[in-house]
């Protein structure tokens, strides 16, 4: 099925939880990634129970490398 990940269209397996999506997408530092699903930041406890749906908009947000997943600078960046 098709979803949007960080602004780009992506084909992912059907019925994935968010936790499984992180694995399938080989997301780097997955334990340090915040996930935004359709504009809502997910609680980490929900990663294993939230199932990704077709056309979902998913944002993986990083901050441990120096990227700005915190408030402030991110708000000033244009979204794709």
């Amino acid at each position: 099925m098709q979803v949007t990940i960080n602004g780009a269209s992506a084909a992912v397996s059907n019925g994935l939880t968010v936790a499984a999506l992180l694995v399938e997408q080989k997301v780097k530092w997955a334990d340090m990634v915040t996930v935004e699903l359709n504009g809502v930041i997910l609680d980490r406890a929900a990663f294993g129970s939230t199932v990704v749906q077709p056309q979902d908009r998913i944002e993986f947000l990083y901050f441990m490398g120096g990227g700005a997943a915190g408030p402030g600078p991110r708000a000033e960046v244009r979204r794709p």
């Binding site: 915040t34 930041i41 944002e59 901050f63 441990m64 120096g66 915190g70 991110r74 960046v77």
Partner: protein, 417 residues
Amino acid sequence: MKSLPDNLHWETAVLHGGREAAPGAGAAGAAIAQTAAFAYDTAAELEAVFAGRAAGFVYTRLGNPTVAQFERRLAALEGGRGAVACASGMAAISAAVLALAGAGDEVVAGRSLFGGTYALFNHTLRRCGITPRFVEATDVAAYRAALTDRTKAIFVETIGNPRLDVPDLAALARLAREHGVALVVDNTAATPALVRPQALGAALVVHSASKFLNGHGTALGGAIVDCGTFDWSGPRYPHLRPYFERARQLALLAYLRHQIGRDLGGCLAPFNAFLLSLGLETLAVRMERHCANAAQVADFLAAHPRVQELRYPGRAAHPDHAVAQRQFAGRYGALLTLRLADQAACFRFIDRLRLAQNLAHIGDTRTLVIHPASTICRDLTPDERRSVGVSDELVRLSVGLEHAPDLLRDLAQALAA
């Protein structure tokens, strides 16, 4: 790289886990990203990393692959959610407190803190408007009495340095939790080889990684570990709320890196991170030997007629022995203090030692010795020295990894008339 088997003991995981393949050549040792900044081919890529929408590094003050490797390994050792490394232990403690408290707030701390931490709390942070409330380090009721609605942290050391008192971490964690206050534990002297404060309910662990974690006296460093036990959306920490909205359980780590670390700049150097990571690999075996040697030295000194008092948490006479026994599973660290007749006797003892190095440090492969009153605690007032357990007659030993009979022989000759 091959994937690792599941359910590895931490002693194995620290050797094999957390390493990222070095580019090219199959080097078995970790790579050192000795760089100030990180380049990207396109403006859009760098924008994405800055925006937090792509994994990557920007500038070593904010993050670095070698530093990140050390952070991940230490967080795993402590059983925490993640870690932020700092230039030194004091940088880590400053950052941890400033991440929780601001002007008008209070921190409740054990009275017998390491002198540097005591001075930070009592002078620098006080000047910033953060008021320390010092209490007897092992008296849980005293901590309870000192809590107010402005308290933002309870700060303790797993083994007070140099008073060597051992607070009951589980009891303090319960108290902190009841009040929605973060318990911050300095685990420098015990290390995760002896105790994981996370398992006892601590919110944060701080380290001077320069000591036992590095273990060889070759590099300064520090770290803050978020234990993953604390709800950072609580009402005591409204400044963390925007970070909680964006990062949820990672809120404190995000705040430490993006606000405190970015603004204060006390980052760990990549080469030091490499040395600290290397030290972590041998932590388990070193701590076993440190503890075994210290126990032998303690027995020897306690029986020596010139030693008026020997303080070591592993001895039954130590007031916190029962807590230490339970908390550290029968190991008691490498630190001990002895009291001699007077300062002159301490100086003679130190001067005659031929193996122990006379310097301001702990947690080296070699045995270290110091006279705290005239050195690391000389800036404290006499009252402050008493409260941190230091007198003119006190000598501190950090027992190293030497062959124990060699150490005992050296101690014996140094104490001989």
